[in-house]
């Protein structure tokens, strides 16, 4: 018996081969050069077919070597944090009709999936105060890279400015994705005191050859950039696009990018009902304001409302597909095809489960708890937050001794502490770590963290 291949049995196979007109299945490979044909099966797996129970036992032994943290949850930051995902979200995306579907190329038989995608686009648009949202990009980093590529196409210029306080992995991804484009990527420094970008440095470096200005808020340090209208003005005065990366959950409480002049918004919807899963899959956000060029140069899938040919009812289809690779080939806006669509359904379910007010309350509680944690740390002599500007959810804490020593101690008490910044750009500071506090952390969890850190100081 071959699992998951219903006709791989003697009776069906013989009948089918006879109908085809061959006596041996390998005759169907007669056009493969014999030099390239494997005589024996490759050595992969465990040399035989495993039953489910054997598979479970095998995996169980391996997974026992992992350690996960729930009590308290990890305090690690770095662009991804531990949030609780309500059970209903997984229930929704476990619907077989959703998760085993392909991209809805045949809209009439996939209206449900398309409506869910349209709802994701709409909810995200309202959260960002942007008009058009695609469904979806791989993650924040690749969405940011695609936004840079779109800006280069829209403006036909050859230079982008990226704030040096964006997530360093995002910056690295932007650099990689732009390798073939022969463009200049210049970084804009940040103020050592506030953690926000230096406007004068931006003004000094921007010119009429600049395609885009990219900043993140909250940035890598969890710091909310201020005066973003001013950044938008500087970008627009020079004919550059203003691209902003955001953490969507923060927007329950924080001003949305559409309100301060963003042209393209990117981010990651992981905080909206998507698990950690060691960092993938995530859900890349990509949004634009209503502008012909920005929308026509958008990468990825878009769903639109339409009507039936007979005009009787409304329905949903994939739209503006002439931007995409299967039609436009080398002239496509992007090569993206598979994306993270199922997680867009998760985010839509999460946002409707919370509602606008619920989302505000959740953002509020995260603000309160992360600020409480910082204050408590300050109380024991830790510089927290290290940067003076307002922050959300994540913050840098600077310790009087190397953080690795602190981390080792709190690990011994089964606490997964912050993210060590000694080996990471842009700070490379052995005394610093990036902490994240969410709704999943109780006051007791936070107090325990602070007390345990105190023991190591």
């Amino acid at each position: 018996m071959l699992p998951w291949a219903p006709s791989a049995n003697k009776k069906d196979r013989e009948y089918m081969l006879k109908t085809i007109g061959v006596s041996d299945a390998l005759e169907l490979y007669s056009d493969v050069p014999s030099k390239a044909l494997l005589r024996k099966p490759p050595m992969v797996g465990f040399g035989r077919i495993l039953s489910e129970w054997e598979l479970i036992r095998m995996v169980n032994d391996i997974l026992d070597k992992n350690k996960y943290f729930t009590s308290p949850p990890p305090f690690l930051g770095g662009g991804i944090c531990f949030h609780y995902v309500p059970a209903v979200i997984d229930s929704v995306i476990s619907r077989n009709e959703f998760y085993t579907a392909y991209t809805p190329y045949q809209p009439e038989i996939n209206q449900g999936l398309l409506q869910a995608f349209f709802e994701y686009q709409s909810l995200m648009a309202d959260l960002l105060e942007m008009d058009v949202v695609n469904v979806s990009m791989y993650d924040w980093s690749t969405a940011a890279a695609e936004a840079m590529l779109a800006a280069l196409r829209v403006t036909r210029r050859k230079k982008v400015l990226v704030a040096n306080n964006v997530h360093p992995e995002h910056l690295e991804v932007i650099r990689t994705w732009l390798l073939g484009k022969n463009v200049e990527i210049r970084t804009i420094g940040f103020d050592e005191e506030t953690g926000t970008i230096k406007l004068e440095e931006l003004e000094r470096n921007i010119d009429n050859g600049t395609a885009a200005v990219y900043i993140e808020s909250p940035n890598y340090f969890g710091v909310l950039e201020q005066g973003l209208e001013a950044v938008a003005d500087i970008a627009h005065k020079n004919g550059a696009l203003f691209v902003v990366g955001v953490e969507p959950l923060s927007l329950g409480l924080i001003r949305p990018p559409g309100s301060y002049g963003a042209d393209i918004v990117v981010g990651d919807a992981q905080p909206l009902g998507i698990g950690l899963n060691y960092g993938g899959p995530l859900l890349g956000i990509y949004a634009t304001r209503w502008d012909r060029k920005l929308v026509r140069q958008m990468p990825g899938r878009l769903i639109g409302l339409t009507r039936t040919v007979d005009g009787e009812e409304q329905g949903f289809v994939m739209i503006l597909q002439t931007r995409e690779q299967h039609i436009r080939r080398e002239k496509a806006t992007s090569n993206i095809t598979s994306n993270e669509a199922l997680l867009a359904v998760a985010a839509a379910a999460f946002l409707t489960l919370l509602g606008g007010k619920g989302l505000r309350e959740l953002a509020r509680t995260i603000w309160i708890r992360s600020h409480y944690a910082a204050k408590k740390l300050r109380g024991i002599g830790v510089e927290a937050p290290y940067f003076s500007s307002e922050f959300f959810k994540e913050f840098v804490a600077r310790f009087p001794k190397p953080y690795s020593e602190i981390h080792k101690h709190i690990r011994s008490k089964s606490i997964m502490g912050g993210l060590y910044l000694g080996d990471k750009p842009p700070l490379y500071d052995k005394h610093s770590a990036l902490f994240c506090v969410t709704e999943a952390h109780s006051k007791k969890d936070i107090d325990l963290l602070v007390t345990t850190i105190g023991e190591a100081l």
Binding site: P3, M16, I20, L28, V32, G45, I56, Y99, V132, Q226
Partner: protein, 520 residues
């Protein structure tokens, strides 16, 4: 045979948009540890609103997102799911998409908190099990492709292609060579030219011969010092094996060009033919195709890029390494192109692919491939000679993972097009094939059953195709009016895309309803 239920029809719910059900004031979510908040606030001495307002950071009002109770959320999305169609409902024989069954055991295992609750920046000693899985998966995929190392970082096949193209770009630029041309067959997946262009290559289109394979003479004619490489899938999108692959590889290599393997079509040869043995230098695999991870209505999937020495140095970093019995991430990047995404990859599909390979082993994978090819050729035997359809390009050659038939006779004789055939299939509760692709076949119906379809479903599919053709010859207008049994009837693509009516979000809909002239 019993007479249970005749005539398929899809569920149809009068399910409005969430905006018409919910209300921003309502919620179905309870914030954890809410009772402790007051004490923390007291300690802080200020409300978030006060702190944020002065700095111009406060959102004045809650976002206008409709909230619903948990019951309503579940009902809304369950109803939507019932108006959707995936492999668990019936065959989805979309060619080149490899829509195979997704084992339920994998779905159960990946929800284990020992995977789901792992943070990507946890200390390495706390993720040894996961790293072991990734390490083994990489080894197995390298073995299956005949390559030396693989990067598991890529979130999809197209990202894998871009990775490969960038690796080729950097490889030549490190040698001081300016090679800026990429050869791509006219039958290639659209992602190939799109990826090559993103990496800064000029795309040179290579025509196919009468037998549906790459025209070697055409390759020879364009080979020169600027050709960096060729992107190829084998079997190609016609389901035909490129039988001159070894000659083609030699030809490219003698020009110092590289050969890139688009793994979208691996399913029919997995465990039988390895890209490395065919002369390919870099390979990407779509784990959501060949290795059975679900497609999720568009994703998440996972791409993997494998390479032979010396191109291994150019793979994105970090890679998983093992020292003694400890696994770790090696971030060293001397020649590597850099990172292609943040963190380490789409872990959930990667683990599912690991479970798939672990379940089947080498022989099981090989038998799976063989069954998928038997299914394709069985379908060809059933449809061969059917009125209205033809099998373009050498009909005597066996196909592999997929077959492309053409509805050209039907279109010519009745006016019923491949699109209409697709819609008529929906009306029988069957998902349509990929249509109008590859571009070199008129009225193309590109069909890939995979090994997952039972014999009876393949027979039913062939019978329904014949029935549709019969109907078309009798009354073509009837076929053009399909589908009628799906949740909605045929949708208007023109209105959907018209600059004056295109509506991608509820927000734009409201602006239109207010009378704003929004033209795209």
């Amino acid at each position: 045979m019993t007479g249970l239920r005749k005539g398929w029809r899809q569920a149809k719910w009068e399910e409005p948009l969430v905006y018409d059900i919910g209300d921003p004031e309502r919620t179905g979510y309870i914030i954890p540890f809410r009772d402790e908040e007051e004490e923390m606030l007291r300690e802080l001495g200020s409300e978030p609103e006060e702190a944020l307002k002065g700095k111009g950071l406060l959102r004045e009002e809650a976002p206008p997102l409709p909230g619903m109770s948990e019951v309503e959320v579940v009902r809304h999305f369950t109803r939507l799911s019932q108006m959707s169609y995936g492999v668990d409902v019936g065959p989805v024989p979309l060619g080149s998409c490899t829509m195979k069954y997704n084992p339920k055991i994998s779905e159960a295992i990946v929800r284990d908190p020992r995977i789901a609750y792992l943070h990507p920046y946890q200390d390495e000693d706390t993720v040894q099990g996961l790293l072991e899985i990734l390490y083994l998966l990489e080894k197995w995929l390298a073995e299956l492709t005949g390559m030396d190392r693989c990067s598991l970082q890529l979130p999809a096949g197209a990202a894998g292609e871009l990775t490969g193209a960038l690796m080729i770009k950097k490889y030549f630029s490190d040698q001081g060579e300016n090679r800026d041309e990429m050869l791509i067959p006219d039958s290639a997946h659209g992602t190939n030219p799109a990826s090559a262009a993103m990496a800064g290559f000029k795309v040179i289109r290579i025509p196919s011969t009468q037998s549906g394979t790459v025209d070697l003479k055409a390759v020879e004619a364009v080979l020169g010092p600027r050709v960096a490489g060729m992107m190829l899938t084998n079997p190609n999108t016609l389901g035909i094996f490129e039988d001159k692959i070894l000659e083609l590889a030699d030809m490219l290599h003698s020009n110092n060009s590289l050969l890139y393997y688009d793994g979208a079509n691996l399913n029919g040869i997995m465990g039988l033919v390895r890209p490395g043995d065919m002369g390919f230098d870099i390979v990407h695999l779509n784990l959501h195709k060949t290795f059975s991870t679900p497609h999720g209505g568009g994703g998440p999937g996972a791409g993997v890029v494998c390479a032979k020495e010396p191109l291994v140095d150019y793979l994105p970093r970090p890679l998983v390494e093992k020292k003694g019995d400890k696994y770790y991430w090696d971030y060293r990047c001397e020649k590597c192109i850099g990172r292609m995404r943040a963190y380490y990859g789409n872990i959930v599909p990667l683990v599912k692919a690991f479970l798939y390979i672990a379940s089947l082993g080498g022989e099981g994978l090989r038998e799976t491939a063989i069954q998928s090819v038997i299914n394709t050729n069985y379908f060809i035997a059933l449809i061969r000679g059917a009125k209205g359809y033809e099998l373009p390009y050498d009909p005597t050659r066996p196909r592999k993972h997929e077959v492309v038939i053409s509805a050209r006779p039907l279109e010519r004789e009745t006016g019923v097009r491949a699109l209409d055939v697709a819609k008529a299939l929906l009306d029988e509760g069957l998902h349509a094939p990929t249509i109008y692709f590859p571009l070199i076949v008129d009225e193309a119906l590109m069909i890939e059953f995979t090994e997952s379809e039972p014999r009876c479903e393949i027979e039913r599919y062939a019978n329904v195709l014949k029935k549709i053709a019969e109907k078309a010859y009798k009354n073509p207008e009837e076929v053009k009016k399909t589908p009628r049994n799906t949740a909605v009837t045929r949708l208007d693509d023109v209105a959907a895309n018209h600059p004056r009516s295109v509506t991608p979000t509820y927000r734009v809909l409201l602006r239109r309803l207010k009378g704003e002239k929004l033209i795209l």
